[in-house]
């Protein structure tokens, strides 16, 4: 659905997007993560044929962003960062206006259908200026989908929303996935990306990493084995650090009365955990529980964007 090759955008001497090569297959929910000012919106604008690349190529729905922008805009939906609705017009009038611009047959029926789908039909004749942020965002999402596009760009869809409204919007995006639509989700909300996306890219002018959310976490930090013991014995650390597959071992920080927990980083827990446990038991450890701890996507993201320094 999206294929870019060394896509670059410069604003004067400043390079906002540097040689982006990316493929997003049809039906995927693709998360585009990055801090504010990383160039996410610029990428989205280039892919939606709103601004032209300085260098490189991009095809969206098989169409060239440089020469077939008009056709691309007909086939994609876009949710911009601010809802951008006409405050004096009602929800239905806003949607009908856009339906007409997209050349939708029976624009009024389509606008009503979208409002019904969003459970907003009770508010269809109310001016949008009276809506809460969450309601306005739902109308803005409906606007992006009014012409039933196969590809939807969503720029920070839950930005500024309260938890309830964010939940509703996320639920709606989940519904898009179920309908088989391709979603390009620009966000810096990691829990959102983790819940919704099939794959994510961490981006800061260029792609820093691209993988499934789970793959990104594991690839960056691996996983750790946590072992809860009945009592603390520092000689255990020396014993397990001598094992060739252990890369680090330390006591996990906790309250003074918490039971001691060993946190051990090792190559592959499935293969190496039995040898690790054997070693601990041989040195007199009394084990209560063994569990796996995975790094969060947030840790992976912060480390990739340089906001978190790794030891």
């Amino acid at each position: 659905m999206i294929a870019t090759q060394r896509l670059t955008r410069r604003f004067g001497p400043f390079t906002a997007v540097d040689s982006l090569t990316l493929t997003v297959p049809a039906g995927e929910v693709f998360g585009f993560l990055g801090p504010n000012g990383a160039g996410k919106t610029t990428v989205m604008r280039m892919l939606a044929a709103l601004i032209a690349p300085t260098e490189g190529d991009a095809k969206v729905a098989g169409l060239d962003v440089r020469t077939q922008g008009h056709l691309i805009r007909q086939r994609v939906g876009i949710l911009t960062e601010s809802p951008g609705l006409y405050r004096k017009l009602s929800a239905r009038e806003n949607l009908r206006f856009y339906a007409k611009l997209y050349g939708v047959a029976h624009p009024d029926d389509r606008a009503r259908a979208m409002l019904r789908m969003l459970q907003m039909e009770a508010f269809e004749d109310k001016p949008v200026g009276r809506f809460s942020k969450g309601m306005a965002q739902k109308i803005a999402i409906a606007r992006a989908l009014i012409h039933d596009p196969q590809l939807v760009f969503l720029d920070e869809p839950t930005s500024g929303l309260d938890p309830e409204a964010s939940y509703l919007v996320r639920d709606f995006i989940g519904g898009l996935k179920a309908q088989g639509k391709t979603v390009f989700l620009c966000t810096h909300r990691l829990e959102e990306a983790e819940r919704l996306c099939d794959r994510v890219a961490v981006f800061r002018r260029k792609i820093l990493a691209i993988d499934t959310p789970q793959g990104l976490r594991k690839g960056r930090f691996g996983s750790r084995t946590l072992i809860e013991l009945t009592h603390r014995d520092d000689s255990l650390l020396t014993a397990i650090r001598s094992l060739p597959f252990v890369s680090s071992a330390l006591w996990q920080a906790g309250a003074p009365n918490d039971p001691p927990v060993l946190s051990v980083a090792l190559g592959d827990p499935r293969v190496h955990n039995p040898a690790l446990i054997r070693k601990l038991v041989e040195h007199g450890a009394e084990i209560r529980f063994v569990r796996e701890e995975q790094a969060s996507l947030e840790q992976a993201y912060l480390s990739l964007t340089g906001s978190l320094k790794l030891d």
Binding site: F11, R45, A48, L50, I51, A52, H70, L71, R73, Q74, I78, T80, S82, P83, G84, L85, Y86, R87, K88, L89, E93, F97, Y98, K100, L101, Y102, G103, P127, A140, R143
Partner: protein, 269 residues
């Protein structure tokens, strides 16, 4: 073209719900012809006790040959009507400056331009829709008061006064040709201004700059007795056309997706 009509319809729908703008447009559009009709009536029916000199045309006012030998009432009515020609030409400038500022800078201020530009609309269709949404109300609110004044003048003034004022060639040319040109010039000016301005209020104030030459002409007309001849009107029109030739290409160049999204100064920095 269909999308241009969609834009035009939406703009007019939006305008009809904006009481602040409607009042700003309708009050002067009603007030000016009312004042002109009142002046015409008072000149034709002087209140008892009013000194005859009060209604005598100023000595520096050049009278057309058709009014040679006309009575003092007709001359007073002629003198009363003359300033309203230039005053009437203020509408084609003020109305679009209010409307274009609201529809272009207002969209920028409200963040509605980007979703609009993300649709398949071509930028010329959008610009034309926006321009028509300013030009059409401006012309309606210029022509309607004129038609009202014309009807009133035909009832209140002798034919020679009507013929030398509202039905004279300069008036008709001014209303039918100069007014639409002035309206278009104002819209183009506002499009150019929109690239740098982020508030509707600022755009309104800058739009008012275009009124200054007209106000200056009204002052000269009243104080120095300037007669608006066909030559004067054609001279003004030539200046307007020259300015249109300069502003239209700049406005069209500035009103492109890329330029609007990247180079226009956006609201909030």
């Amino acid at each position: 073209m269909t999308r241009t009509l969609v834009i035009l319809t939406k703009e007019l729908q939006d305008l009809l719900r904006n009481w602040g703008i409607l009042i700003a447009l309708l009050v002067p559009a009603a007030l000016i012809p009312t004042l002109a009709i009142l002046a015409l009536y008072v000149a034709g029916n002087p209140p008892p006790g009013l000194s005859p000199e009060a209604l005598t045309p100023p000595p520096n006012l050049a009278l057309p040959s058709e009014l040679e030998g006309a009575g003092p009432t007709a001359l007073a009515q002629y003198a009363a009507l003359v300033p309203f020609f230039m005053i009437g030409l203020i509408f084609p400038v003020t109305i679009p400056s209010i409307l274009a500022a609201s529809s272009i800078v207002g969209e920028k201020e409200a963040g509605t331009l980007e979703p609009l530009l993300a649709t398949p609309i071509r930028t010329w269709e959008l610009l034309l829709g926006k321009a028509l949404a300013s030009v059409i109300p401006a012309l309606v609110l210029t022509w309607l008061p004129f038609v009202t004044l014309l009807a009133a003048a035909q009832r209140l003034a002798p034919p020679e006064v009507v013929k030398t004022t509202v039905l004279s060639a300069p008036w008709l040319f001014g209303i039918l040709v100069l007014a639409p040109s002035l309206t278009l010039l104002t819209v183009m000016f506002l499009v150019i201004v929109s690239a740098w301005v982020t508030e509707v209020r600022t755009a309104n104030q800058l739009g008012a700059v275009l009124i200054a030459p007209l106000v200056a002409m009204i002052v000269i007309q009243v104080t120095r007795g300037l007669t608006v001849t066909m030559g004067t009107v054609l001279g003004i029109w030539a200046v307007v056309l020259a300015l249109l030739a300069l502003t239209i290409p700049v406005a069209v160049r500035l009103f492109q997706r890329e330029t609007i999204l990247v180079r226009w100064k956006q609201s909030g920095g």
